[in-house]
Every structure is written in structure tokens, then in C-alpha cells.
Subunit: 339 residues, 2 copies
Amino acid sequence: MRIALDAMGGDHGPEELISGALLAVEQADLQISLVGDEPLLQSYLERRASDSKTAACLRIVHASQVVGMDEHPVDAIRKKKDSSIVIAFDLVLRGEVEAVVSAGNSGATMAAALRKLGRIKNVSRPGIASVFPTLKNPVVMMDVGANVDCRPLHLYQFGVMAAAFARIYNIQQPRVGLLTIGEETGKGNTLVKEAYELLKDSPLNFIGNVEGRDVFQGNVDVIICDGFVGNICLKVSEGLAEAAMQMLRNEIIKSPMAKLGYLLARPAFKAFKRRVDYAEYGGAPLLGINGTGIVCHGKSSAQAIKNAILEAVHMVRNNVNDVIARNLGADDREVSTGV
Amino acid sequence: MRIALDAMGGDHGPEELISGALLAVEQADLQISLVGDEPLLQSYLERRASDSKTAACLRIVHASQVVGMDEHPVDAIRKKKDSSIVIAFDLVLRGEVEAVVSAGNSGATMAAALRKLGRIKNVSRPGIASVFPTLKNPVVMMDVGANVDCRPLHLYQFGVMAAAFARIYNIQQPRVGLLTIGEETGKGNTLVKEAYELLKDSPLNFIGNVEGRDVFQGNVDVIICDGFVGNICLKVSEGLAEAAMQMLRNEIIKSPMAKLGYLLARPAFKAFKRRVDYAEYGGAPLLGINGTGIVCHGKSSAQAIKNAILEAVHMVRNNVNDVIARNLGADDREVSTGV
């Protein structure tokens, strides 16, 4: 399979991204196009990919521009036609790759995907899903930031799209829950109450309302919410995890005995950290675009990039977009690029 | 000061609540009215308060009914006129106590407060605030569940009310932030963007947008959001904290060495747990009602109840309601009960 990696995105620069690509080609039969400044990428690549077999799996596609993390997505995409993220989706459009992975500006990645590939037929609003670790299997939450003001139909479609994506975890009948502030029917704001009516009569395996505290229990596979609520959930969770580790560290360093104890328990802490690390879960899939795109956290490690690339492979192999199209009654659509 | 405690609310029953009241009267000069089933409360009290000095600080006020945790708040309050929570607010109305604390049905507590005491003049929507631990000082978030569909004015008033409440932490010019999904001006949904305009021109010490990850950093004193978003934040945080502790425990018990390490580091873990325990921060104040009320988590320990009672005392002493009234331009209101 052929994947384009936006080799200029992310906080750690091209080296970390290339390392991720190298890890990925070791694990799967892949051709990766590294999109970005050719001389720069070439210099990194020469240092890293001395093995000719590995190097043969990577090629560089030149792009003279980069979209910064703080640029306005739509403006940036319009102005920077030769940016790495735009060129990456051009490769999909030309049939040269099946998917794009980027750790750059996520809004710009969505904007470039929409501009180049458009939406799957009948999708009102493409969105971004995110995968959360739980006590059991991971849970897919959608939307986590692309759509801040939603109508009930959008929430319903997020459910359809995220359920199709959950197939990559071998979940055939994902349990879909609607995020609100009480488990009983009729709880929530106007948007959620109206979305409930659409969901309960749908072919989805809809299990009803779920609350914030259910997110990490693992008793639901897909959680539906608008992008404002979803993004806040995501950021609150990240912020709490970081702050809690910091608070615990502050307590541990106060006592030599606790420090010793921490050293002994360290492998358990590391295993725990792996368990909750977003890097282990790949990136956040763009769902509803007529192709396959994954956005990664800006601070993604090589490991996270590798997992995101493999996630893109799973999305393509599992025909996620075909399932979305079918479930939104778009059987008559043209076969989309990338599936 | 005189406080009414709904002695029938909460998951642990009257005994835990009475223990909380006993802890409170040891720490402050208080008269506590335990509201609930007299024979039942009397039997608990006889077992616990053998010390005559302590017992003199407690009295029982009979209420023949209890509002269950799952009852519809407004219906329950209308039907159960002799329920402990209704009688507790009757005591405020009659001038027999200055504040109410309840670990029962929080919606019913709000409904009873509104029915008996009404709103502070010019308050459009009373709400519930919650106090979160952070890396620095605690942060007050409002609303966390009373108002699910809000207008911009409501968010502005939540800011005024929560800032007045923050006075109990000796913060005179609390930094007020608006919860949204990007720090730059203009980020967020329609509600938040419109509320931003009201806040930026207000006398509040408004520091602009804050993101979910800022909640636990301690760089903001008051966070404004609608009750739907706030409640989900609260529940996601609780759920994540519990799930993370469970995951860590699962890793630790896998290895004898890690178990030993955990035992050595246990005091640090306990200190950490105290630091993040909601019980340490008392309960959630009802803000905007013409009186003082605190709702506690249903599973509150005696320690949590004690802290909530002391929090009510601080609210009354700091004239929180007078500050709210003044800052909403309601100088001409009648002096409210309880402040």
C-alpha cells in the first residue's frame, strides 16, 4: 500500500517523522512518499536509511511550502498551493497513494482533504474522530473539533462514520452511545435530545445516552458528540493526565522512601503510561472525506507516526469509506479515491 | 452560624452525614439542624454524640419524606412538601439557618432553593459551580449542570457569580477564562463567540479563552462554560481519574517488585489522592439563588460533608450573594435571606 506522509508537519521536525516512516516500512509492505522540502528531507534520509531495501520503500515528493501550526486553515490552503499537506492530497487525487498522514495543522489537513477530495456522498459534515484508551477496548469519539455548531443530523452521521471506523478494531456491531449529562432518555441539551430520536430509530447498535464518566470504562465502542464538546473532552483528559502525573511526581520527590518505591514500581508505571499514551493509538482519522487521512498530535513521536501510518493502512483495507457510503444510503456514489 | 444539613441525602445514609456534622462543629462555632426522619436521626445521634457540648450544637428538625436520587427534581419538590430538602430551605426562609448543605438529588436541591428562596435580583439563570484541584490553586468552574441550553448573557453571569464565589479563596481579582477549543479570539461555537464579546467589555478580570488542557494548570481562577459542557468536563475528569488509578493498580499487582515499590511510595500516593480528592474541596455551591446552598457528591464521606459545611460558612461570611447582586447592578434588591 502507498501512503503519503506530510514530512514537514509536527513539533519535532522531519527527522522524527522519517523515523516513524522507517519503523512503519519495517512492519508492513508499504511505499511511503515523504512530502516536503526535498534537499532537507534528502539529507535526513541519507543519514538514516542506509539499508537499501528500506530506502527503496521511501521516496521524496518535493513541496516548497509549509503550513504553520497557527495559520488559519482555509486561508493557508488557498494561499499555499505548494505546501506539503496540499501536495500530499494531490498524490491521492492522482492515484499515487491511498492515504495521507500528517502531524501538522489539523484544520489545514481537513481543509486540504476537503478541497482536493471532497466528501463522501450524503455526508453533511466530515469530522475528526479520536481514539481513547479505556479499561477495556479503545473507544472512538466523534467529532473532536471539526464541527463546533452541529445539527442533530450531523451527530447521527458522526455515529455512522465512527461505527464504520471501529471496524478496524474488529468490532462488527459497535455499541454506539450519545454523550450527554444523564443516562436516562430525555437528558441533555436540545441538540442531544433531537439527535437521540434519530439514533434510536437507526440501524446503528445504539445503546442510548452515555455520561462523561463512561468514556473510560470501555462499555461503549463509539461515543457521539459535537466537535466543541469532543475537543474539550479530549483536551481536559490530556490536561488532567499530565497534571495528575505532575502532582504525583511532586509528592514522590518529597520522600526518599517514596522515590525508592517509585523506582521499584517503575516498570508498572511505564506499562501504565504505554496503556494511556495517545501514541499507541495512532492518530485521529478524518471521517467523511472521499479518501483516507489521519491527523496526528503535533508532538507525535516516531512511534506515534508509525502507528498512525498502520492505522491508515487498516482504514483502507477495511473499506471504511465504502461502509460509510453504504450506511448513508449512497450506494450510487462513484468509487472514492483511496478505498 | 446556623446551617441546615439534609440528613437523608447521599449514598451512605444519615450516619456518614451526622459524622460530617460532628466534625464540622468541632472546627467552627456552628449550630447545625439535621433535617430528616426524627426517630431515625435521634437513634444515630444518641450513639454518636455522647459529648454534651457537641450534642448541644446539633438539633433535629423532622421531615417525613425523602427525595430519591433518581426522582424528577421539580416534580419531587412539588409533591414532597415535607421532604428533608424542602424543609431545609424552609428553615432558611424562616430565618432559622443561614445556609443548606445536601448530598441528595442535586437537581431537587436547586429546585427547592429556587422555589423557597428565589433568585438574586437580575440573575437570569442560577447555576452550580464546581471546584477543581489544579497544579496551583483550585479553579471554580460554572455552570456544571443546571443549565444545558444557554444564551451568551447566562455565560457572562456565570462569570460574575463564580468570580464572587472565588472570594472565599481570598482571590480578590479572580482571572476569569471562557472555556473553548482554541486560545485565539474567535475560536469556539456561536454561543462562546458571543459570550466573549460580553466578557471582554465587562468589569471582570477576563483573561480570554482557555482550553480544556488549561483546567488543571492553575493559571485561571474561574472557568465559564454552559452546564452541558461543564457537567461533561466534571464527569470525564472523575471517570478518567478513577480509570487511571484502576489501570495503574492493574499494572502494579502484576509484579511483586512493583507491589513492594507501591507500598514504599504509599504515603506519596495518599498525599496525591488527598490533593485530587473532590472531598477536600467541599461541595458545589448553588450560585444565583437568594440564599446559600451547597450540593455534595452523593458518595460524600464525613470529611467531604464537613468541608462542604465549612464552605457554606465561608460563603455567608464573604457575602458572596451581596457581591453577585452588586456586580449585576442589583443594588436596590432587598437583603436576601442568608447573607
